[in-house]
């Protein structure tokens, strides 16, 4: 099984230096890209079926292709790597950033070339101290080697890249909020349209891509679209995927597997199944803002379409496992307090609705709940549904709740009838 993203990761956890990275074939893809037409690079990425790994699964080549090109476009354009990774339960980008920063930098230079961007930023979350060191060091090496700066590899292409370390807040990961944060402002989302591809950072055309998305780019350039498509088990979408699992499984961790590996294989083979004494109750398949799936969904391939078909989202692909010894209402309570706390406060349904939701869950979990509260919770999931709020934070917050109300209804009712949490003795 091929693992292009992780095969060269060193077992001692230190990152690959420029020299080591070049020994694995690093920066050859960049040389190749620079000899091509920018549009041909985008076409290759489109043909590879690479879909965004930040959660939404938007085809990367299609996004790049929406950037205005040529003489009439507004310059400078920007290429931004989204390394904010704050989705609860997600820890995949960190691994890539800490172990092989050059893979991301090379991908970003190729991406910037494809859209004719002359400035690039890596937007990193504050908590990733080791990743910050790895990137800082790698950027220095790349500048010294002449792969960044003026006239890269004699191609006439200029690119400046720098690292921005954030100061917290989940909403910074939302791409338009991220752009405001990069501009030194409060990270409030912006109205779309206009989309960042047309009017992004400082009002100029901008691409924002997730770390894992970018990590794939050099491999696509080096080995081609067909090779990439064949890595995946899913029709029309290419590549491997970093899958993770946390919770009471025997072997929590991360694995690079063909896109479309089933939930069951990830949990039973790679995560080793449940720890002794715990049995499986459900999962959030791709981070805190995805709908619960249960036993009957275990044979679902983990790709964008298949997970959507069974009523959830693949999201970040890092699976949070709920066991029988953990109260699902308590788990939701933790989640909704997170979302309420991280709401940017810009639009009313989210600013008011999320704290209300969190308080209702507090009441139910503490044994003060009423049956009517379940109706109010149902109402909240509609009130904050997609389209009713300014950005996708609040609808994301409703995904675990609406599915819990469906699958774990009996647990809600037990809390209310017994006026206590059955999991607390």
């Amino acid at each position: 099984m091929e693992k292009p993203l992780t095969e060269h990761i060193k077992s001692d956890g230190t990152w690959l230096s420029l020299k080591e990275y070049e020994k694995t074939g690093g920066y050859r893809a960049l040389r190749k890209a620079l000899s091509m037409e920018p549009k041909a690079v985008t076409k290759l990425v489109l043909d590879s079926g690479l879909k965004g790994r930040g959660g939404a699964g938007f085809p990367t080549g299609k996004k790049w292709g929406m950037v205005p090109m040529g003489k009439d476009a507004h310059y400078p354009k920007y290429f931004v790597v989204n390394a904010d990774e704050m989705e609860p339960g997600s820890f995949k980008d960190r691994w890539l950033l800490e172990t092989n920063p050059h893979q991301i930098i090379e991908g970003a230079i190729i991406g910037a070339f494809a859209i004719e961007a002359n400035f690039s930023y890596i937007f990193l979350r504050w908590a990733y101290h080791k990743a910050a060191k790895a990137i800082t060091h790698a950027l220095q090496e790349v500048y010294e080697a002449g792969y960044l700066g003026k006239d890269i590899m004699g191609s006439g292409f200029d690119l400046e890249m720098s690292l921005h370390i954030s100061v917290g807040r989940y909403i910074c990961g939302e791409e338009t909020a991220l752009l405001n944060a990069l501009e030194g402002k409060r990270a409030l989302p912006r109205a779309k349209p206009p989309y960042p591809v047309v009017s992004g950072l400082f009002g100029k055309p901008t691409i924002v891509n997730n770390v894992e998305t970018i990590a794939n780019v050099s491999h696509i350039l080096a080995k081609g679209a067909d090779w990439f498509l064949k890595l995946s088990k899913s029709e029309g979408a290419g590549g491997t995927k970093l899958y993770g699992a946390s919770g009471h499984v025997k072997n929590p961790g991360l694995w690079e597997l063909p896109l479309g590996t089933t939930l069951r294989e990830i949990l039973e083979v790679h995560a080793g199944g449940m720890q002794d004494g715990y049995s499986f109750k459900g999962v959030l398949p791709g981070g805190g803002s995805t709908d619960f799936l249960i036993e009957e969904h275990l044979d679902t391939p983990m790709d964008f379409e298949s997970v959507q078909k069974v009523g959830s989202r693949m999201g970040t692909g890092t699976i949070i496992v709920l066991d029988d010894k953990t109260c699902p209402i308590g788990m939701l309570r933790s989640l909704e307090h997170f979302f309420a706390h991280e709401s940017c406060g810009w639009c009313t349904p989210c600013r008011e609705g999320l704290p209300w939701t969190a308080k209702l869950l507090d009441a139910i979990d503490d044994g003060r709940g009423k049956m009517k509260d379940l109706e109010i919770l149902e109402f909240q999931t509609k009130y904050m549904a997609p389209g009713n709020t300014f950005c996708a934070l609040a609808p994301g917050a409703m995904e675990p709740l609406q599915s819990a109300l469906k699958y774990f209804r009996a647990d809600f009712e037990k809390h209310i009838h017994e006026q206590k949490c059955p999991w607390k003795s």
Binding site: E85, F91, R94, S162, H164, L182, F202, S246, G288
Partner: protein
């Protein structure tokens, strides 16, 4: 403005060095706040005023940015800042036990600083280390797979 200047020449130079990465000075606002905090451990009203002048922004505009972000401290903090992940995977893996232990051991709640000024206790969202939950950060160090016993030893190493 009266009294002594808070920001040193070194800090000012560091803040101004950020300008070259951006087309407008105000884009250096967050970096500027981080630089101030790096040297003073928090951002006082006086420091904020001086920073605003460097950025050519109004004091209110800088403060609105400073108060928006979780990790810009507008109040003094202890010698070490403990950031406890209170998100979902840590919740499942024993967050309650960890926070109860910390609050009892240090005698403080979230948002407070211990009497000896040694620790400030804060909660943070998911630290991206969920496969080692429960997790927390002290200063810049990540500690995972925590149990109260293990945490007790870890705390001892921060004086």
């Amino acid at each position: 403005m009266t009294g002594k200047q808070i920001l040193s020449e070194k800090e000012i130079a560091e803040i101004k060095a950020v300008f070259k990465h951006f087309p407008v000075k105000s884009a250096a606002c967050i970096e500027g706040l981080k630089i101030v905090q790096k040297y003073h451990h928090w951002v006082s009203d006086e420091a904020l005023k001086e920073l605003a002048a460097i950025l050519e922004m109004s004091v209110d505009a800088v403060d609105s940015v400073a108060t928006y972000y979780n990790l810009i401290f507008r109040k003094p903090v202890g010698r070490h800042v403990i950031l406890v992940c209170n998100s979902v995977s840590c919740y499942i893996m024993g967050y309650n036990e960890i926070i109860t232990f910390l609050q009892q051991k240090l005698g403080i709640e979230y948002g407070e600083t211990s009497e000896d000024d040694r620790f400030t206790l804060l909660s943070v969202p998911c630290l991206g280390d969920c496969d080692h939950a429960p997790v927390l950060i002290i200063d810049d160090d990540l500690h995972g797979n925590l149990t109260p016993d293990k945490l007790e030893k870890i705390l001892d190493s921060y004086k």
